[in-house]
Amino acid sequence: MRTRIGLLVVLGLGLILAPSFLGPWQTGILTRALIFAILAMSLDLLMGYAGLPSLGQSAYFGTSAYVVGLMTTRATASFWLNFGAGLTSAALLAALFGLLALRARAVTFLMITLALAQVVWALASSGRAVTRGADGLPGIGRPDLGFLPWSFDSAASFYYLVLAFFIITAVVLHRIVRSPFGLALTGIRDNEVRMRALGYNTWLHLYIAFIIAGTFAGLAGIMDVYFNSIVTPASAGVMVSADPMLMIILGGPASLLGPVLGAFLIVPLSEVVSVFTEHWLIVMGLIYILVMLFARQGLLGVLRRKAEAPG
């Protein structure tokens, strides 16, 4: 517990002060890490707490990114309108896909969520008339929040915007996992049949968790489209689903802090590697392999065991 609070304090201070010491490029990397931390935390609600390993979070990430991209380039630049539309579309899609995916559990669930997410990817890549295919939708400016006097054009100011949404996500998800609802999710993960026998509507619990996770994945997608100022089919690609899963396993599942640690390790690593070699996907592949072979109990798991070990 003490390690945990210590970690949180260090992490919080570091996050607030970081842009003062870093250039725009490094701040950009941290912004991306925060975006993926939002995505990974939301997946952790499903994977770590509810025991539903979704390999399809790219569906909601990509959908809200495209909705914001389309709204911005075709309709309105109003941040709050686009934000609302993006989140709503992610939530609605999760409500639809959840009905289908929750027919299965465990690794079959993983396979189904992967297939469903590819519907979105297929639409993004082949629906040229609307999404402009592989070219994507460029020219999406940084948001203007209206009531705030400053702009988010600089790397640092946009970083703080993402940080604010990151903190909101962390607080909301933390409250959810500590609530009776969240505890019921853990119970369902450990023994769904018993929870059903105790009178819980297990399907409804999982369904709601699925929609919440999808909505927060949509939030990450919105941040990502404003960060990149372009949305392409890659925003709905498989790696957007797989990377947060890697981050959760590396950091340690069912902790919220674990996925954040994972994101802050993986994102900077992949960004730095991509500077040195154009074949950075090989390095990413090796990271997947090595983490799964040697670090699959998660960093938090290792720390916890160290802390509990006598002497």
Partner: protein, 286 residues
């Protein structure tokens, strides 16, 4: 009417490709609960190795043999060095590890062969077309149908009529029990894994003259394999057969009628199946 017959022949030849591609994926998933994403890489790499062999030897059969052998070995190695280290409950780490293997293989192919599209030729005895009952069919498509039918018969005999097949089915039903009864499940798993990878490599070489070879084909192949397994149902020979046929027919005919919606339409049957028959057309509830 003739268009319908010709499109059906196309669908059958695509079903042959899907069958070869998905066989190993489906069987290892049913038997070991391993969702092997790298299975698509066996198909993908096998196709490139076949193309290189063909370029040097001008012998299509040799290309098939070489690619199958290499991919069989790659499958054995993937199981022996990676997947064997996991316990049966570690399904998600296993799946993610195989994504890593897929990424590495994918990038190595792009590094070696570049980003261009290749269209290798088929064997000389199956080039050109043939007139059958007043209709003209490309010979290679008919050749694919014949190979697909032959392999599915062999696989059916292997799985349902032999001792090995009985062991595979018993282990798929209850791995612990069959281990307790003296089956060396590790060797069995490794053998089945190698065999599945071999079939995928074999299928990759056969598919290349039809689908073409390009970077990104591996991800597409993965999705096709996933869709076949979801539609047909996990871990049964008939599920594999029915899944391959259903996906091939839906895909071929929707591409014919609605070319704009290609790729998207392939997922419609997935949604329908999940809504009405969540265990697949041939699957049993678990």
């Amino acid at each position: 009417m003739e268009h319908w017959i010709i499109q059906s022949a196309n669908a059958l030849s695509f079903a042959s490709i899907l069958f070869l591609l998905a066989a190993g994926f489906s069987i290892t998933f049913g038997m070991m609960r391993v969702l092997n994403m790298a299975h698509a890489s066996f198909f993908f790499l096998g196709a490139y190795i076949g193309m290189e062999t063909l370029k040097r030897s001008h012998n299509f059969l040799l290309a098939l043999v070489v690619a199958s052998l290499f991919m069989g070995l790659a499958g054995l190695a993937t199981y022996r060095f990676f997947l064997r280290r996991f316990s049966r409950e570690e399904e998600f780490p296993q799946a993610l590890l195989t994504i890593g293997v897929l990424l590495v293989a994918s990038e190595v192919v792009r590094w070696t062969w570049g980003g261009r599209v290749y269209l290798p030729s088929g064997p000389t005895f199956a080039t050109g077309s043939i007139a059958l009952g007043g209709l003209i069919f490309p010979k290679y498509r008919l050749f694919l149908i014949a190979v697909g039918a032959a392999v599915s018969v062999v696989l059916w005999v292997l799985l349902t009529k032999t001792r090995l097949g009985a062991l595979v089915r018993a282990t798929a039903d209850d791995a612990e029990m069959s281990q307790g009864l003296g089956v060396n499940t590790r060797y069995l798993f490794m053998g089945v894994f190698g065999l599945g990878a071999m079939l995928a490599g074999f299928g990759g070489v056969l598919a290349a003259p039809v689908l073409g070879l390009y970077s990104g084909l591996d991800w597409e192949a993965l999705l096709l394999a996933v869709v076949v397994v979801i539609v047909g149902g996990v871990g049964s020979f008939y599920g594999l057969l029915v899944g391959s046929l259903a996906v091939a027919f839906v895909d071929t005919f929707t591409r014919w009628f609605m070319p704009e919606l290609a790729w998207f339409t392939i997922f419609l049957p997935v949604a329908l199946i999940l809504a009405f028959r969540p265990h697949g057309l041939m699957g049993k509830p678990q």
